[in-house]
């Protein structure tokens, strides 16, 4: 596996073949798509816009993280999407059958900045925000057998904790938090992060906005105490196009050049990965 490929974003329509689509946890499906050109150019943290069904209903494509790549003879030939059923689009995706063609745009967006192998890498996932981290962890392991990797994953209860075993199998320390304590620590995933934060670590996070908000305040507090470390988040704003055409997917970004100290940035092309301090969390609404 090539662990040094440079990142490019391309809103090119591609047609892949569904090679697998199974329910791996309650309402959570693993969709496998064969498309070598896509797989060769994908980098960890990027996403794709999937046509959930053929035709125009539902009209817009849906955004999904690249959860993993599929290899054949050491070459990437396909990708994996891990998706949770929410509404019409994700439900339609569960009906996709093996052998069928499926259209999608990508790979899109900026990947995580994965730093250097001497850093302690801490991946923080809330709910289906887990999806990008299997590919991230696989990529990091291929880059270095020694790097210290930690995966902190949270969910409502034990049924909503994703990819813990898969990522543990790559030689990562895994810690779990659930809201109801049905698995691992009872409480929030950010509580697991607190004792691990130290200068020189690198934090990558993906999850819902409430998680990001508490992460942002924890990071601010630790930095005020003098710790120096990088923290990036991958936002999940609703994305009508995914490639910068509509301006529907914006997040409030700090800006000294704007009257109110912020501007709206398109999360699909300026993100979805941002340094945590770039976002004005006080202006973010906490739904979904």
């Amino acid at each position: 596996m090539n662990a040094t490929c440079s990142s490019t974003s391309s809103a090119q329509m591609r047609v892949g073949i569904v090679t697998g689509n199974v329910e791996v946890a309650p309402d959570c499906w693993r969709l496998e798509i064969r498309c070598p050109e896509f797989a060769r150019s994908a980098t960890p943290g990027q996403f794709l816009m999937l046509r959930c069904r053929q035709g125009l209903d539902p009209l817009l494509s849906r955004a999904f993280s690249i959860c993993d790549l599929i290899y054949e003879g050491g070459e990437p030939v396909g990708l994996v999407v891990l998706q949770v059923v929410i509404g019409v689009g994700t439900l339609a995706l569960t009906k996709r059958v093996v052998g069928e063609e499926i259209g999608f745009l990508g790979p899109l967006g900026n990947p995580y900045d994965l730093g250097t192998p001497d850093e302690h890498m801490i991946m923080v996932a809330g709910g289906i925000g887990a999806a990008p981290f299997l590919y991230v962890a696989r990529f990091l392991r291929a880059r270095s057998a020694e790097q210290r990797l930690t995966y902190l994953v949270g969910g409502r209860n034990k049924d909503f904790v994703y990819l813990a075993d898969e990522i543990a199998a790559l030689g990562c320390d895994v810690q779990i938090a659930t809201d109801d304590g049905s698995l691992g620590h009872q409480g929030y995933v950010t509580q697991l992060l607190d004792p691990l934060l130290a200068s020189g670590v690198r934090v990558l996070a993906c999850g819902p906005n409430p998680m990001f908000k508490s992460l942002a305040s924890l990071v601010e507090q630790k930095r005020a105490e003098g710790l120096e470390f990088a923290c990036q988040v991958s936002t999940e704003e609703s994305m009508p196009c995914g490639y910068g055409a509509c301006a529907g997917c914006v997040v409030p970004l700090r800006s000294d050049n704007h009257p109110d100290g912020f501007r709206y940035g398109k999360s699909c092309v300026e993100g979805p990965v941002f340094p945590v301090e770039a976002i004005r969390w006080d202006l973010i609404r906490s739904i979904h």
Partner: protein, 326 residues
């Protein structure tokens, strides 16, 4: 049969085919030039450019609906200076006409933007956004025939460019507004902008959008947009550019037969930036297979023979048509 001719003209503006991109659905027009073969389409229309930068409305800005979507973007754009600095240098290299869509907060701003645009060799034509539902006052210039005529006349004079007036369907009747634009010297009218709509979060007992309203676009609005084109094109003698829910070559042909000279592809671009190209390519194939040599033969071919007889799709439409003829 020879390869069919797809060329159409909007006044002095010659288009290699009738497929344009719609404002606000293809960025500022230059961003996807490396990705999409723009030499295969008729032209690009920019996101609306305003005098000052606008950061746009707070999220949520969009919501899907059956067969379409709602948006409340709020004319997010870099403003004139940002446009000149970042977009303009890339425009000369575009292999298709570049149509600048502008909106002012006042008539004076519309006129000043038109004057500045007239000085730029890169701009092939202007589209006046007289119809944005997502900024306060955005619709005002497109509601009143007197105001519309005056603003069009002054922008034509100030720019010296071919000018398309983009109108709103959210008026009592779009026909008299289009007629006013014609009197003001517009080269064409673009019909239509989005229909007003809203979305509700019933659990929160709230509207989804901060401004309460948003604009509906996509295939769901095609029948209404098509009617606006059908009626208006019979009541004016300048070209109509049809917009609303276009997602295929057959959609384009329906608009042409209804009376449009060219069309714009909007929301469908969100599915694939190459959508306008795909549609233009399919259009040629379709004409070829149907044995149609010149696409212009189709324009307005559904119009009844007496040009003054305006379509009577609904009793209300008849009333409106009568009113508009007075």
């Amino acid at each position: 049969m020879n390869s069919p001719s797809l060329a159409v003209s909007i006044g002095p503006l010659d288009l290699r085919n009738p497929v344009l991109t719609a404002s606000g659905t293809f960025g500022l027009g230059h961003e996807f030039a490396d990705l999409v073969d723009l030499s295969a389409i008729g032209g690009v229309v920019t996101k609306t450019v305003t005098m000052n930068e606008r950061i746009g409305n707070p999220p949520p800005r969009t919501m899907e609906s059956a067969g379409g979507m709602l948006n409340s973007i709020g004319l997010m754009n870099p403003g004139w200076d940002g446009f000149v600095e970042r977009t303009l240098p890339k425009v000369a290299a575009l292999p298709c006409p570049f149509i600048l869509n502008i909106a002012g907060k006042s008539e004076a701003e519309f006129v000043e933007l038109s004057r500045r645009a007239g000085e730029l060799a890169e701009v092939a034509a202007l589209e006046l956004n007289l119809s944005c539902p997502n900024v306060s006052g955005g619709l005002d210039f497109g509601r009143d025939p007197v105001a519309a005529e005056q603003i069009v006349a002054r922008c034509v004079e100030a720019s010296g460019l071919p000018l398309m007036a983009k109108l709103s369907p959210n008026v009592e009747d779009v026909v008299p507004i289009a007629q006013a634009c014609e009197r003001g010297g517009a080269t064409a009218v673009s019909l239509i902008n989005t229909f007003l709509g809203t979305a509700i979060d019933w659990r929160a007992r709230k509207t989804i959008f901060a401004r309460g309203i948003a604009g509906v676009s996509g295939p769901a609005i095609k029948p209404m947009a098509l009617l606006a084109v059908f009626r208006t094109s019979q009541a004016i003698s300048i070209p109509v550019v049809g917009i609303g829910g276009i997602a295929s070559a057959t959609d384009v042909l329906e608009y042409l037969v209804a009376g449009a000279t060219a069309v714009q592809v909007g929301t469908a671009c969100f599915l694939d930036p190459a959508m306008p190209v795909t549609i233009a390519v399919e259009l040629r194939r379709l004409l070829q297979s149907e044995g149609i040599e010149d696409i212009r033969a189709l324009i307005g071919s559904a119009h009844p023979s007496q040009p003054k007889h305006v379509a009577s799709a609904t009793p209300r439409a008849v009333n409106q048509a009568e009113v508009s003829e007075k």
